[in-house]
Symmetry: C2
Subunit: 154 residues, 2 copies
C-alpha cells in the first residue's frame, strides 16, 4: 500500500473533527500519512496553544495523540482489508480510551513529529501506540484504543 | 475552606494556559470551583468542537479532564497546607499522565458538568479522578496524575 493521507480518505460525512477534519476550518487540521507500517504527522502548535510560557498545553498533546491514533487505526484496518478486497475507502473509528504520558515539557515554536504504530489489530478494537517528538526528543507517548464508530454516532 | 475559583488563584505567571488560563483570550477558559472536597466546572463546547456531526471531539474532553484535574490537585494541596499555614496562594501543578475512558458519545450543544475528586494526595504526586456529565449522564471519566511544575518549566 502506498503512502497516503489518512484524513483525506475518511468518508465525507465524517470529516468535521476539530482535531483532524478537512472540513473544520477553525480546527487543528492534523494530517496523518500512512506508509504501510506506521502513520506520521507533522504539526507546529501555535502561540495560543500555551500551557505556561514556552511550553505546549497538555490538551493539545492529547488531541494529537487522539486524532493521529484514530487515523493510524483506520489505515491499519484498511490495509488488512485490502489484502482481500479492493475497497479502499477508510472506515471511521472513534476513541474508546486515551492515555498520555507527558515525559518532559514540549516547547512551543517547534514542529512536532507524531508517530502512530498499530500494536493490536482486531476487527472491533485496534490498539495504537503514539509518540511525539520535538527535535528528535521524545516528549510524550500515548495509547489509543480505537473502535468502529457506534451506531448512535453514525 | 470556602468555595473559590481555582484558576483565579494561580500565580500570575502561570495563567496563560489555552485550556484554563484567565489570560488566554483565545482559549477555552475552563473555570473550576473547589468546595472543600471536590472541584466542579461547567463548560459548554462550541459548535466547532465537533467530532462527527452532533458530538464533541475527544481532544476537548481530554482538555477538560486535564485542566480540571490539575486544578483539583492544586486546590486539594492548598487545603492540606492551610491546615498548618496561612499561605492561600495556589501552587501550580502539571500533568504527568492523563487517562480518559470515553463511555458514550458526548452530545454538542449541552452544558457539561465536570467533577474532579482527589483520590491520593502526596506532596509530589496527586491522583485525581474526573467525571464528565451531560444532562446527568456520565459520558467520560478520567484520571490525572499531577506533579509540581518542574524547574525547567518554571
Amino acid at each position: 500500500m502506498k503512502k497516503f493521507n489518512i484524513q483525506e480518505n475518511y468518508p465525507e460525512q465524517y470529516c468535521h473533527c476539530y482535531g483532524c477534519g478537512k472540513k473544520n476550518m477553525e480546527g487543528l487540521r492534523i494530517k496523518s500519512y500512512w506508509d504501510g507500517e506506521k502513520a506520521v504527522a507533522l504539526f507546529t502548535p501555535s502561540d495560543k496553544h500555551i500551557a505556561v510560557p514556552g511550553y505546549v498545553y497538555g490538551g493539545l498533546i492529547a488531541s494529537l495523540v487522539d486524532c493521529h491514533g484514530i487515523g493510524t487505526a483506520s489505515a491499519a484496518i484498511a490495509q488488512e482489508n485490502l489484502e482481500s478486497s479492493e475497497d479502499t475507502k477508510l472506515k471511521r473509528y472513534v476513541t474508546a480510551s486515551l492515555h498520555v504520558d507527558f515525559l518532559r515539557p514540549t516547547p512551543l515554536g517547534v514542529e512536532l513529529k507524531i508517530i502512530g504504530r498499530p500494536v493490536k489489530i482486531h476487527k472491533r478494537k485496534i490498539v495504537v501506540n503514539v509518540e511525539i517528538y520535538s527535535d528528535e526528543q521524545l516528549t510524550a507517548k500515548g495509547e489509543v484504543i480505537a473502535v468502529p464508530i457506534p451506531m448512535n454516532m453514525a
